[in-house]
């Protein structure tokens, strides 16, 4: 261990590697409900070359490497389940290029969402990226690689779909490029080449370390608005979403309903965000959005809620701080959610699961969905807990586990799933698919050093 520690020091400098109890304590846990798992070291490289040297060392010594961005995934994916090192990538946070005309940004993987947003506002005010509602220190790399979604997911789908290509260090130390940048100086798309980017997306850091990535940018409109559609009938929501997404005029659509220990408290709300270059265009879009759900307004089963200016301003915030504030719901500093990806048509079914689990566990369940394009949604079940009370954390963990299973039964798939939920997904997975995953992994990572304990059966 001492030898590895010294070599790490040689690579990144003594101040950026630690085996001290303080770092091992913090890096062994995230803010969710998964139990701590301590690394032996924490290391913070500053360049692709340093990442490569660390990986070569880890490979030679058979030491696990757990890549970490913001560490905000909540489901414990950056814990060192089998020891080894957590590689905190946030020193690699350079914004390398913004291509105005072809609308993309090339960044190092540890670049924070918030810093990229501020940079674009300052230097390229006509452009923006799709920011998630995660705390703004979340990294672009971490978010894209887990198939995140955000404020432009109506336009561009999952953030992984907004990826143009990347540079990655393989578990065996080679530096590879995927997408157009592998054959051109421009980082403009993944087409028309074999799509190797998929080797790193959704894998929870088990296939390599992404060091740079190019993501799509979109017009930042000067005029922006939000509307809230309300209906008392949960069964209607899927069709409302179908109609709204069909307009292809919006930037973001989310739907929310909370359930306080089995009791549904508020009408489901659908929040619609859209932007325009002129006031006239904004009005035009507003009218068309309204027209798409006119049927429900006419038969009085739904309607748009009046929005006071302060509420409208809150709804236009990106990232929205409210999801973070949920952590203080019980004055307890904690929540975790099952984010499940599922088709829009399952909205009511997904909701019913949430109510049942809330009743069964006697736990509040805040449900929300972000609609991805016109095709599917990330339906989330959020359970808050008081971090200072072990039994409360256990309750949330159990409710999460049961929710993961119920989601799978319904036909959805848990997103950024905890290690135990990954095992449940594997149970539902076509065996040949899982076999292919394993074959790819054994080719890429013959020594099994990358974030071991994830996407495994045992």
């Amino acid at each position: 261990m001492e030898k590895i520690y010294n070599e790490l020091k040689d690579i990144v400098g003594a101040e950026f590697v630690s085996n001290q109890p303080e770092e091992l304590f913090i890096y062994s846990r995230d803010m969710g409900t998964m139990l701590p798992a301590a690394p032996d070291f924490v290391v913070m490289p500053d360049s692709t070359e340093e990442v490569q040297k660390i990986v070569l060392l880890a490979n030679r010594e058979g030491v696990p490497v757990v890549p970490m961005g913001g560490g905000l995934v909540l489901s414990g994916l950056t814990r060192a389940l089998k020891g080894g090192m957590v590689m905190d990538l946030k020193r690699m946070n350079r914004i390398l290029e913004v291509n105005e005309t072809s609308r993309y940004a090339l960044v190092e993987a540890g670049t924070s969402q918030g810093i990229l947003q501020a940079y674009l506002k300052r230097h390229h005010p006509g452009l923006k990226h799709s920011i998630p509602d995660a705390p703004p220190i979340a990294t672009v790399g971490g978010n894209v690689l887990i198939h995140g979604s955000g404020h432009l997911s109506q336009i561009g789908g999952f953030h992984s779909e907004m990826l143009n290509g990347m540079e990655a260090v393989l578990p065996t130390g080679e530096i590879v490029k995927t997408g157009s940048c592998s054959a051109s100086p421009y980082w403009f798309s993944r087409a028309p080449l074999p799509d190797l980017s998929g080797l790193f997306i959704g894998w929870a850091g088990t296939t390599g370390i992404v060091t740079k990535l190019s993501i799509k940018l979109f017009p930042a409109h000067p005029y922006n608005d939000a509307r809230v559609f309300i209906t008392g009938d949960i069964e209607l929501i899927a069709d409302v979403l179908h109609r709204l997404t069909g307009t292809q005029l919006t930037e973001d659509i989310t739907a929310g309903v909370s359930c306080i220990i089995g009791r549904v408290q508020i009408f489901p709300m659908v929040i619609i965000n859209y932007g325009a270059d002129t006031k006239e265009e904004l009005t035009w879009k507003r009218n068309l959005i309204r027209a798409s759900v006119k049927k429900y307004i006419d038969d009085k089963t739904g309607g748009f809620a009046p929005l006071p200016p302060a509420s409208r301003a809150d709804l236009l915030k990106a990232p929205n701080p409210q999801p973070t504030q949920v952590a203080d719901e019980k004055k307890g500093g904690g929540f975790e959610y099952v984010g499940s990806i599922m088709p829009i048509e399952l909205f009511a079914g997904a909701y019913n699961i949430g109510v049942e689990i809330s009743k069964k566990f006697g736990i509040d369940n805040l449900m929300a969905a972000r609609i991805i394009g016109g095709h599917c949604m990330m339906f989330s079940y959020t359970y808050t807990f008081n971090r200072a009370i072990d039994a409360d954390v256990d309750l949330a963990r159990n409710a999460l586990h049961e929710t993961n299973n119920a989601v799978l039964k319904l036909g959805g798939i848990p997103w950024k799933a905890e290690a135990p939920a990954q095992k449940e997904i594997i149970k539902h997975m076509d065996p040949n698919t899982f076999q292919l995953m394993n074959r790819l992994r054994s080719v890429l990572d013959p020594k099994g050093i990358m974030n071991p304990g994830n996407w495994e059966v045992g």
């Binding site: 101040e15 950026f16 630690s18 001290q20 109890p21 303080e22 770092e23 304590f25 913090i26 890096y27 995230d30 803010m31 924490v42 913070m44 913001g70 560490g71 905000l72 905190d88 946030k90 020193r91 924070s112 918030g114 810093i115 947003q117 501020a118 940079y119 300052r122 705390p135 703004p136 220190i137 701080p321 973070t324 504030q325 952590a327 203080d328 004055k331 307890g332 500093g333 904690g334 929540f335 008081n386 971090r387 200072a388």
Partner: protein, 387 residues
């Protein structure tokens, strides 16, 4: 520990690492060290682990604890409204616990010992405290309208002294009725309090309150935002109720009528001191002064007002130097930011910021293109042109 009941409510979500405008990392200790442990949330989680017995108060733990600059960026940016106002209070409360164990990091122990023994941390005799005023004709306080309080750095540090003299000359020039305490002045206790030495900070405060009261002082102008903060916010809790101004507030009042100015031709930006800005909401007065100077080309850095990056000298770090060195020390990052925005002069309003940024300009090799000047020095230069 005070505020212990709030510790577990930190979600460790990290909003506090960035300023409210997200422009760059804005917690000085996280910026320098980069481990999660040195971020505001990491620090709070470590504190909790220490209180629950999961961690010892090791040297590293103390470094984490004492490297907080008490800059309040986290207070401004925290994602949890229910705890944000108390974040720095929690850190100070934990420092208090460590102080009570008597096992302090050496640099902090030395600082506190010097203050205890001599009334200042510069290892200088009190008799030299008023020497900064030599040759200036500054009267000793004797019933004038204002006490001008120079403070430790303004009295003993070479760069601080220049600033104190600049402010005093402007006040003299404008005919402000003021006096100083000279060798009878003692430390204000602000940074002693930030370091968790509550008993000593209260002792200093009570002494000052006593002295001010005995001398019939009702109005105080401070050079340093740190003293301003102590006298404005802490002294009243101990019975010391004075009208307290930071010198930029006073200068702002008189600049138009009493100080005719020539021009000062340079591109100038302003660096907000934490104890003036985030701690006390004084943002506009210094800007107003600068913008009143003819010829001065004023511009803001991206991180300004409540998003300003601390110089790294607050919370006792000016003396303990836990944040001073290295490429990513916040002072160096701050002057690089000023450079990026094309500033020729970084205007400051705090003697600690002044020294920290001056050193950073040297470390960055920017001496030929950038000057750090306090607001009063800029006004003086403009006045000279007028004369």
């Amino acid at each position: 520990m005070k505020h212990e009941e709030l510790l577990h409510r930190c979600f460790r979500c990290g909003w506090c690492k960035l300023p409210v405008n997200f422009m760059d990392i804005n917690c000085p200790s996280y910026l320098k060290y980069r481990f999660e442990t040195y971020s505001p949330g990491g620090r709070l989680w470590l504190l909790r682990a220490w209180l629950t017995g999961d961690l010892d108060a090791s040297d590293r733990f103390k470094e984490v604890l004492f490297s907080c600059a008490t800059c309040k960026n986290c207070v401004e940016a925290c994602g949890i409204p229910g705890i944000k106002d108390h974040l720095v209070d929690m850190i100070i409360a934990a420092r208090e616990e460590i102080v009570n164990t008597g096992k302090l990091p050496p640099s902090i122990r030395n600082y506190l010992t010097e203050i205890y023994n001599r009334g200042n941390p510069f290892k200088k005799p009190q008799s030299e405290r008023g020497d900064w005023a030599k040759g200036l004709d500054v009267p000793v306080y004797n019933g004038q309208e204002y006490l001008f309080y120079a403070g430790d750095v303004g009295s003993f540090d070479e760069s601080g002294i220049k600033m104190t003299r600049a402010v005093a000359s402007l006040f003299l020039n404008a005919g402000i009725s003021f006096g100083i305490l000279g060798e009878n002045e003692t430390s204000d206790g602000n940074d002693v309090n930030a370091l968790g030495e509550k008993a000593l900070s209260e002792h200093l405060a009570v002494n000052n309150i006593d002295q001010f009261t005995k001398r019939g002082i009702a109005r105080i102008i401070t050079l340093s935002p740190h003293a301003f903060n102590a006298m404005k916010n802490a002294y009243p809790l101990l019975g010391g109720k004075f009208e307290v101004y930071h010198y930029t507030q006073m200068l702002n009042k008189i600049i138009k009528d009493k100080l005719p100015l020539g021009s000062f031709k340079a591109r100038v930006t302003y660096h907000d001191p934490c104890y003036l800005g985030r701690w006390n909401g004084v943002y506009l007065e210094p800007r107003n002064i600068l913008q009143s100077v003819p010829g001065l080309d004023y511009m803001e850095m991206g991180r300004n007002m409540n998003s300003a990056l601390c110089c790294g000298g607050g919370g006792g770090n000016y003396f303990s130097d836990m944040l001073g060195s290295g490429q990513d020390s916040s002072a160096r990052r701050r002057v690089r930011e000023a450079e990026e925005y094309g500033a020729e002069v970084v205007a400051v309003a705090c003697p600690i910021c002044k020294k920290m940024l001056e050193d950073a300009v040297k470390d960055e090799g920017l001496e030929n293109q950038m000057r750090v000047m306090d607001v009063a020095q800029i006004v003086i230069e403009a006045k000279r042109k007028q004369a």
